[in-house]
Each structure stands twice: as C-alpha cells, then as structure tokens.
C-alpha cells in the first residue's frame, strides 16, 4: 500500500488527515483509490488529460515525468508539490 502525503491545501477534503494509505500499482490507481476514500481529491489532483497543470509528483523522493502511468511500489511514498523549473 502506498503512502500519499496530502498537500496542506487539500487536507480539508480528508478531514485534516495528512497521510493516506491506499492501494495501487500506478498513479492512476492510487488517485482513484484516494478519490474513493475522500471524494473530490481526484478532481483536484487531475485535469482532463492528466495531473493538474502546475503540479509535480514525487514518488519515493524522485520526480516522475510519467504522469498517471507512473509506477507505484507497495511501500512507495507519494508527494504532490508545485512544479519547478530552473535557470
């Protein structure tokens, strides 16, 4: 089961819970499970064609560029954070 760290601005949807443990072998499944447990989370994390614009996803400490198809391990830690670039 993956551990998803809920961003501060989404915690109203989880009743203030900071971490949620959900099943899933890829990000799409994890977000679907999140949304089932806490309705509304899925719509906030995803747009029509993938992860919401401006959001980045870290799985086990590394950015993933694979969007909803990113693989998730059984003990993975997942964070959603603002996207960054660089100069």
């Amino acid at each position: 089961m993956a551990i998803v760290y809920i961003p501060t601005q989404l915690r109203p949807l989880t009743g203030g819970i900071e971490c949620v443990v959900v099943p899933g072998t890829n990000l799409r499944q994890v977000i679907a499970a999140l949304d089932a447990a806490h309705p509304g989370l899925g719509a906030r994390l995803c747009g029509d064609d993938g992860i919401s614009p401006g959001l980045a996803v870290s799985i086990d400490g590394a950015f993933t560029n694979r969007g909803l198809l990113a693989k998730v391990g059984p003990d993975s830690e997942i964070h959603f954070l603002p996207a960054i670039g660089g100069g």
């Binding site: 961003p7 601005q9 959001l55 400490g61 964070h79 996207a83 960054i84 670039g85 100069g87």
Partner: protein, 771 residues
C-alpha cells in the same frame, strides 16, 4: 608565492551506489582538459546568432508599448507598409486564437494564450516594452523607420509595479480572466484578481513550536527585480520556406523548447519546425521563453524571405523576463541550545505581467537548509505591470534566502552561538523532511558547513574599522529531465558525440569527459557537437543545473552501448563469446590477448561496420545542491559604499567532472549574487517606466569591483548518478545577498532589509542608526 585559491574536499566514505568502498580511480573525470570549443571562442570564430547571414535576409524590428498599462484601441500599419523596403508587418492579429490552450513545455504546462499575448500584445499592453507589432524590411534602419510609422492608439490605464500594492483590492486589475488558484489550480477567489496563486505548506504545530522557543526573531524583507544580465542580447532568424518548413536559428537555452513554444504559438505541426541553437552569450534562465522566434517566423511567412531580429539592450531590459521583486516575512523560534523549533514564512513574489512566477520554489527553498519540526509557509504569485518574469539561476531561492539567512544570523547572535555552529545544529541531512517535500536522500550540507568552519578564511579574525564578516547558506534543487545523445566511433579511435544541450559553462566538455571516462579514452578524443532539433533526440533545456548531470548520464549510457558493441567486435576478432572479453582502462582483453579501443576502432570494417551508441534518459531529480558563503566587507560610513574584501564560496558538487568549470560556476554565481546584493535593480518611475534600461545605469559588478572569489569544492557523490554528479550552476547565487547583508550588519551594526543594499540605502540606514 601565489596562493592557490582552489580546493577540493572529497568525502571518500560516501561513494556512488555499487562502487565499493574505495574512491573511484578516474582517468578523465576530475582533470582539467582544454575545452573543445575553446579555440573557436577565443578567436571569435564561434558562430553566434548575430553572425548568421542568409541570402535575401530581411531585418525585423519590434514596436513596443510606451505605457506600463494601456488598452490598445487601434493599430494602423498602412503607412509602414507603404514605406519602400518594407516587406511585412505583423500584429497579434496574425497569431492563431490560443484561448484556453495549455502546452506541456517540459518544465510544466503553460497557458498558451498568455505566452502568445506576451509575444505580441492582444487588446492590452501590460508593461512598458510589451511588444505590439513588428516589421521586416531590407535593412535595420528601414525597419526602425517603418516601426515609427506604425500608429497605435492607446487608452492609458493605471499601473502597479510593487507586489504588495498589486495585491490590494483596489489595485489596477491586469487580467479579467485571472483568478486566485491554489496549488492544484482550484479557483479560490470569486472575482478576478492580480493574485494568481496562493500556496500553503504546514507541518507540525506552529503555535506550539513558537511557544516552546526561548528566542524568536521576526523580520520583513524586500527585494527589487534584477535582470540576468547576459552579454548577448536576444537574436533570432527565421526562414519559413515555400514548402512549409520553418527553420529558426536562435540564441536559446533549449532548442527543443523553443521549437515547441513556436509550434504551439503558431499552431503548426512540430515536425514543420527546426530550431538550430547558435552559440549562446549567456542565458541564466532568461533564454528559455521565446520572444523573437515566433515573430520572426510570422514576418518570414508574410514576406517569403528570411528575417533576422536582434534586440537592443534596452529591449532586453524592458521586454524580457527579470526576476520577481519580492516581499518576504520570516519568523524563527529556537531553544537555548540552538535547536530551531518553529519556522514561519510569508512570501509574495511578483510574476510580471502574466501568472506563473517563482513562488513555488521560493516557498520550498526558504527553509530547505534546515530540519524544522513545525513550519508554516504561505506564498503568493502576483501579476503586475512589469515584464513577465523568467527564471534566473535558482529562481525564487535567492529572495527567500536573503530573508531566512539573515534571521538565522540574528538568532545566532541572540543565542551567543557561532553562526556555522547554529546551522550545523539544524542542518538538513539524509532523511530530513523539507517544506512540501519528501525526505532528502544523501546530501552534503553538513560536510559543506564543516568544511567552511575549517577554512583559513573563517579561522582568520577580521579586524579593522567598519569591517565585518558574514555567513550564509543556500540551496537549490537541481533537476533531471530528458536528454538524448548519440556517438559514432571513428576509424582513428576518436568518437563523435552529438548532443542536444546548448553549451553553457563548458558543458560540451563536461559531457564529453563522461563519455571518454566510460570508454577509457582521452577527453580530447571525443568530439562533441551540439545539434539542431532534427539531428538529435529530444533534450530539455540547459537549465536547472541539469546538463552535466542528465546529458552526462546520456553520454555515459552511450558509452556503455559502444562498449557493448566494441566487446562484440573484439570477440569476433578473437573467435570467442563477447562475455569472455574484459574491458578495463580502454583496453579489451581475452586469454592473454589485448587490443586498445583505438586499435579496435581501426578494425571496425572487418568486424561488422560502423559502431554507433545512443541513449535517451529521463533521470528523476532533484540532485540537491548546497552551498555556503563566507564574505568580509568594509563599509564606508560617509558614502554607504560596501567593498567586498574577501569571499570564499563552498559547494557540494557531488563529483566535479571538470573542476575548473565547477569553480567557474561558483565564481560566476557568486558575482551575480554580489551584484544583486549591492547594486542591481530595476528603477521604475511612478508611471511604471523603467528608468535605467542600459548598462550605464543598471550597475553590474565588474572585475574592478571584486576580489578573487576563492572556491572550495566539496564532493559528496550523488548516488543517483554513475559518476556522482549533482549539478552546480544555480546554487552559488543563492547565499551571497544574505551573506553580504550579514557582513554589513557585523561591520556596522545596521541590518539591511532591502535589496539592493546600494550606497544610498546603506548610508541612510547608518544615518538613521546614528541619529
């Protein structure tokens, strides 16, 4: 006897994954070969964008807004079009309708309508210098004359150029379609707003944290907009051929992102656009967005001729992205033993005229150096009437560090602690969770602080009137992203390497060295070439301190591919299986027989023909760079002028592939940080007009202003890279403004809360203190 100002500290106990207990014995990595493009650069033969000349080429000129904020009521181009020698005139009406379109440009998705409206203003101009129209003519002078003949009727509107003013409810509104959104893009305001983004990060219990603190310091800071200050202005040439193929020669940090932005803005298939990256005279993040490329393309399509466009220096200042101006409030609480128990920050960064600034990195960097159990960080991205901001070396981190590192310094003073000891007490390390982020992997901040504390510079007491020493730390993520490379073995044993990363700071050589190390050949035997978008696989921008890390990883994998093929060729010669052939130090061996890479390269035809390696990588960063600055200054109490007496910069590079280039990045970033600290700023008048858009009036530091910047490279290898590379380009700019501010405080007793700390401001602060 000259003093060697360079030093490298190696953490031999922490080696790249799978490399055993001993430090790797590199033959190429860590040496200082002459850069492959050196002769061309020093003889002036390197081809920059403005060197390009094409048959029948026209010259373009942009017409820019004289107003900081105005409605465009009418554009009349008829007089310009009638001028002899004019071949084309374009306005925003020539751009496709880009409403509601988003595009993923590799570093995140952007609103194409905003990108297009920044290239050519649509309905409103949002800053002085905003491009409104453009002409193409037979010479630059005819183009300038034609530009003057374009009549634009404006309805001036009130302008706002300071971030806190732009956040007020009664501030002039820039966009009717911009609302406040949270981190996920969820709209949180009912009415259109200049505040386009609101971020919030919380962990622990901030109230309890401050309640448990023995010392609490809270301060407010402001920073002015500064420009990247690259020497080469923007220059682009476009040829829209009759077959529909568009070729663009340009000065860019990323040929592929320039291609994608241009294709998206013009709504043409990406396969119809080829971008040829010219040599680049600096970028620092400012040459990632497109400005001239789509305009030159439109003019070329209309005229049927190639069109070159070159910005003046004033256009660079007024029409391209500076850094955000910022307001930052930081509050820290610590216990008597120095443990920081609570941290709070409130950051407002301007984004310029369109949403999408640097507030995210600012929030995530403000306390990135420290382990803080309770924090609350709130950030705001705000549009106002200044050019759209662009990245500048560790975008958003320097403003945050200017605030946080001064508060840390003040905490150390109140606690009676050495400022490095206080930082060591709270330093982030492997496993530390940071603002909004997962825990760090192996990082080298503690090693960098310890090395700083042992520096002769730090151990030498500073003496003299009005002199002081400052310390500050800095962090930048360093990103991964995508890189491609291919390499061909030549019959003489050299290898031609083709990569897609614009060479900034010697990356041709730092990437080539990693291929050479992998193949066991000399760096000089690799011939690196930076290719256009039709000639190499997709490669993200030269930015984010990523090229030596990610493109270097691609070169390494190319080398492995070539090694595998060459081993098969050796096996063919020796009539054995490939797995029976060993490779070490550039030599293949089997049963007492051996052949060098170079010798085997001469026998490719008889063993199967050409050998080519290729690789495409998408490494997942960040690689986490930490740096520390030690600076001594002297402040003239009569003028307020600050003189930098001595500067030592330390940084964990992971592994320095070419130490000279790492030192160059550390020195260059530090010098830019000193300029940001002491002099550089955009001066706006009350109508939102920049009043110092030239290098005569925009004061950047020169060699005459500065001492030699001493460098100390710390090497704590990055386990996520085969040679331990972390990336180095951005971190060095983060700490200097805070370090200089701390030094000024210790020299004068006056703490500076605003950048730049220019002589008039320091003098005024000294007068105020002495009243």
């Amino acid at each position: 006897m000259p003093i060697d100002t360079r030093e490298t500290i190696v953490d031999e106990g922490r080696l790249p994954r799978g490399r055993g207990a001993a430090a790797p014995a590199y033959k190429v990595i860590g040496t200082r070969p002459i850069r492959h493009d050196g002769a061309d650069k020093v003889t002036g033969r390197a081809v920059y964008g403005n060197d390009l000349q094409l048959a029948g080429m026209l010259h373009g000129k942009v017409v820019r807004s004289p107003h900081a904020h105005a409605r465009i009521k009418r554009i009349d181009t008829s007089a310009a079009e009638k001028l002899p020698g004019v071949h084309a005139v374009v306005t925003a009406a020539d751009l496709p309708d880009l409403r509601d379109k988003m595009a993923d440009l590799g570093e995140g998705r952007v609103n194409l309508a905003h990108l297009g409206a920044n290239v050519l203003a649509h309905q409103k101009v949002l800053y002085r210098g905003h491009a409104v129209a453009a002409v193409a003519a037979v010479s630059p002078h005819v183009a300038e004359e034609a530009a003057r003949l374009i009549q634009i009727e404006y309805e001036p509107l009130p302008a706002v150029t300071w971030v806190l003013d732009a956040m007020k409810p009664d501030a002039p509104l820039l966009h009717a379609d911009v609302y406040t959104e949270d981190m996920t893009g969820h709209r949180t305001s009912d009415q259109p707003s200049n505040t386009s983004k609101h971020l919030l990060f919380e962990e622990g219990n901030i109230e309890q944290g401050f309640a448990s603190a023995d010392v609490v310091v809270e301060r407010e800071f402001k920073t002015a907009s500064v420009h990247q200050g690259y020497i080469e202005p923007h220059v682009s040439t476009a040829l829209w051929n009759v077959d529909g193929q568009l070729t663009i020669w340009t000065s860019t940090q990323g040929a592929f992102t320039a291609r994608q932005q241009t294709a998206e803005l013009l709504q043409v298939p990406i396969s119809r656009v080829k971008v040829v990256p010219c040599e680049i005279g600096g970028g620092f993040g400012g040459k990632i967005p497109v400005y001239l490329e789509p305009v030159a393309a439109l003019l070329s399509r209309k005229s049927g001729r190639p069109v070159k466009m070159v910005m003046t220096r004033a256009e660079v200042f007024e029409g391209t992205g500076p850094t955000p101006g910022s307001f930052v409030r930081v509050k820290l609480g610590a216990q008597k033993d120095g443990r920081i128990v609570a941290a709070q920050a409130w950051l407002a960064y301007d984004a310029g005229a369109f949403p999408g600034g640097m507030i995210g990195p600012g929030c995530m960097c403000v306390f990135a150096c420290y382990s803080v159990p309770n924090y609350r960080v709130e950030g705001f991205d705000v549009v106002l009437n200044k050019p759209k901001t662009a990245a500048y070396r560790a975008p958003g981190a320097t403003q945050a560090a200017f605030a946080a590192e001064q508060v840390v310094d003040e905490l150390a003073e109140k606690l009676g602690m050495d400022p490095i000891d206080l930082r060591l007490k709270n330093a982030a390390c492997e496993g530390t969770k940071r603002v909004g982020w997962p825990a760090y992997p192996k990082i080298g901040f503690i090693e960098t602080l310890q090395t700083a504390k042992n520096q002769p510079h730090y151990k030498t007491p500073i003496s003299g009137k009005n002199r002081g020493r400052g310390i500050a730390a800095g962090f930048w993520f360093n990103i991964g992203l995508k890189s491609s490379a291919s390499a061909s073995v030549n019959p003489d044993g050299t290898v031609t390497l083709v990569e897609g990363s614009t060479d900034i700071g010697g990356t041709r050589t730092s990437v080539a060295m990693q291929l050479a190390e992998t193949l066991g050949i000399a760096a000089e035997d690799v011939k690196p070439q930076v290719a256009d978008t039709d000639s190499v696989g997709y490669t993200d921008v030269t930015g984010g301190s990523r090229v030596t890390f990610a493109t270097g990883m691609a070169a390494y994998q190319c080398g492995l591919d070539i090694r595998r093929q060459m081993r098969e060729r050796a096996a063919t010669l020796w009539e054995c299986e490939a797995q029976e052939v060993n490779f070490e130090d550039g030599t293949f061996r089997h049963n007492g027989e051996s052949i060098t890479f170079k010798q085997l390269a001469g026998r490719l035809n008889e063993t199967g023909g050409p050998v080519q390696g290729r690789a495409a990588v998408d490494p997942e960063g960040p690689t986490n760079g930490f740096g520390v600055s030690i600076v001594d200054v002297e402040v003239d109490p009569d003028t307020g002028k600050t003189t930098v007496l001595r500067y030592t910069v330390l940084q964990d590079a992971g592994k320095a592939i070419h130490p000279s280039y790492v030192e160059g990045q550390m020195q260059g970033g530090t010098v830019q940080g000193i300029g940001w600290a002491l002099n550089e700023e955009y001066f706006f008048d009350d109508r939102g007009r920049m009043r110092n858009a030239s290098y005569l009036d925009y004061r950047m530091p020169t060699a005459l202003d500065l001492p030699m910047i001493d460098t100390v490279i710390v090497e704590v290898p990055n386990p996520a890279h085969p040679y331990g590379v972390r990336g180095v380009g951005e971190t060095p700019i983060v700490a200097p403004p805070a370090a200089v501010a701390n030094a000024i405080y210790h020299a004068t007793g006056v703490r500076m809360f605003e950048l730049p700390m220019s002589p008039p401001k320091v003098w005024a602060a000294l007068v105020k203190k002495n009243v």
